[in-house]
Amino acid sequence: MTEMSGADMVVQALVDLGVDTVFGYPGGAVLPIYDALFKHPTIQHILVRHEQAATHAAEGYARSTGKPGVVLVTSGPGATNAVTGITDALMDSIPMVVLTGQVPTTLIGTDAFQECDTVGITRHCTKHNYLVMDPARLGPIMHEAFYIATHGRPGPVVIDIPKNVQVATGKYIVPDMIEHKSYRPQVEPDSAAIAEAVAMIAASERPVFYTGGGVINAGPDASAALRQLVALTGAPITSTLMGLGAFPCDDDKWLGMLGMHGTYESNMAMNRADLIIAVGARFDDRVTGRLDAFAPEAKKIHIDIDRSSVNKIVPVDLAIVGDAGRALDAIIAGWQTAGHKPRDLGEWWRRIDGWRATRCLDFPEKKEDAAEIMPQRAVKALYDATHAMDPIITTEVGQHQMWAAQHFGFRGPNRWLTSGGLGTMGYGFPAAVGAQIAHPGRLVICIAGEASLQMNIQEMGTVSQYRLPVKIFILNNQWMGMVRQWQELTYESRYSNSYSDSLPDFVKLADAYGWTGLRIDNFGELEDGIQTMINTPGPVIVDCRVAQLANCFPMIPSGAAHTDMILQPSDVTGTMDDEAKALV
């Protein structure tokens, strides 16, 4: 075998691993890899404008395709700028491989130019990381990194490659990676546990499925299995923010999202259920509310690929460690073999219908042409105008994100890209870039807040460069709305630093980057404005001015029980005790 440079090995490994797209930004310590890419015919490199955006774009690519996202950045600031996106991918279980340049091995530890301890900094925000000191290790490490990023609970892996290792030559070795020497995630569920789960579901009178991003990560077949199991059992289903789309929003078993900004019916159903079947969800504090009041009457089954998620927050009665799709398939098979029929859940559904009758997502509005637009209406109008086109929706973080989760319906997996665990403002726009790269013909819309969007707004240049038809729909209320909402609820409306002052003119900004810019000012302009956005080829930014002081309800305040939802603005008291103030 002829020897090749470390940089050529990196590129060869990407080809062998089926990578078609790399998001990155060059710099001194990765120039050899960039040179190897320069002449490469099949790998498309997307030049972002900031390394954080490369990581979020890779996340958007990964979440919309199920394939790992790949990032290439330089040492020092390149690596540190990537840290937010790496952490985001860890929290939301997104498969990602990040290649970072490093100063030559001879300079490591000397505070060299653009040196930072990348493996040290990323040790706890990656699923695993490597510092490659020998080019002969590059082949095995590249293949192992992709294996680790995509197997078990997915996550980000960093490979830090010193510049002299990129230049030095060696043999490119492809390992036979049937299994890793120590990392062997349990994928097949235990059959005894499956049988017990089937019996528990069959015996339950008030079951609820509580599903999360793990179902999406388990692939489209897992979503299909979930639909089948819900149909077989006749049980209601709710989902976390990350799990939206695994189950169709127009099915009568669908209760909507649960948790802090979830629906009244889903939270009440969780509270009164006698059985909760958690699938690929991790009992996040945004979901459970006050723990000692969480689902007090329910036995709990927890299906998760990560054993450390089981009993972490909520003790469960039955743990099934394994892939969500395989566990669901096994439960379906067990259900059918046992000849179970759906129980008569009529009484349970009558109670649920009673909670549904509160119509908790309704909001007050004036439907006059000159009236201000309620943000919820803007999302609903966007949904009505686009859902037939099966769009991919990304969001930033804040009120607009919750309104999108509540009012935009999803019918399939991999169409809803949002930063759940880390709650990263600045995620949505670059994620839309990544999703659009992966799906050139699809309608990709970033529902944004005017504050979040500015955290990675430089990516307008990336969109222009690659002629991506990304649409940004800003719910512009001129506030960091969720911060302002919490200040209203907790700090007697002392709006400390939450006003979006000195906003750019987004229409002129669009013009400056060669985009189309639109502004929607009132109710009468909403539908036409959205149609114009859809019908305009190329990238469009829509500055949709919405009611400035609207708040996002329903809401379970921090530290409150599922039954203590604030349904209407009139329920707000405006202050909280220190125990509640100390919660996030």
């Binding site: 040790r123 510092l131 609970r153 890793h180 020497k181 990392y183 990560d306 450390s308 009993n311 100390a582």
Partner: protein
């Protein structure tokens, strides 16, 4: 408002890991990042080909936290195996200490006499000092060190606990 903490119990964990740079940092970092306690930690290469190390960690926490610690350790890529020796049943725990004592006259004689009682070995001596090597369970070493404070204790070095399950099988 007061910040509350929960009472815990002591557990000895044996962790087999890849003998690679950064693995120890990954494990100790996990403990700090998630707020777990480390009472003692020992680590050494244990395989003929230098591929594996065994880490012994003594930790403290309520039972659900101990379960979490094990699950969190177990999912780290370089971790091969985690054993809770406290849960696994009878096990032997040992620690070595080197204890330097300086003095003359009665104190020196008393130090030597106590060392004999504790079966500590003298590994270095001058006219005015001893270094004792003592092996045993941590409480025994605690008691020896406490007595040496009365006899001119200068310095102590301890290894922390290593532990292994009793019987013929690996835990």
């Amino acid at each position: 408002m007061k910040i509350q903490t929960e009472a815990g119990e002591r557990h000895v964990l044996a962790i087999t890991v890849d003998n690679e740079a950064g693995v120890l940092a990954k494990i100790t970092g996990l403990f700090t990042a998630r707020g777990y306690n480390i009472e003692s930690l020992t680590v050494a290469d244990i395989s003929s080909d230098h591929a594996l190390s065994r880490i012994t960690i003594v930790t403290n926490g309520p039972p659900p936290i101990i379960d979490q610690i094990i699950a969190q350790l177990d999912r780290l890529v370089p971790v091969h195996k985690v054993t809770d020796l406290t849960d696994a049943g009878a096990h032997v725990e040992r620690e070595i200490a080197l204890v330097k004592v300086a003095g003359t006259g009665d104190k020196r004689i008393e130090a030597l006499r106590l060392a004999d009682v504790f079966r500590a070995k003298v590994v270095d001596t001058t006219i005015t000092s001893f270094i004792f090597e003592i092996t045993g369970a941590s409480e025994k070493i605690d008691r020896f060190v406490a007595l040496m404070r009365e006899c001119g204790l200068v310095e102590v070095g301890r290894t922390g606990v290593v532990a292994i399950a009793r019987g013929a099988e690996a835990a």
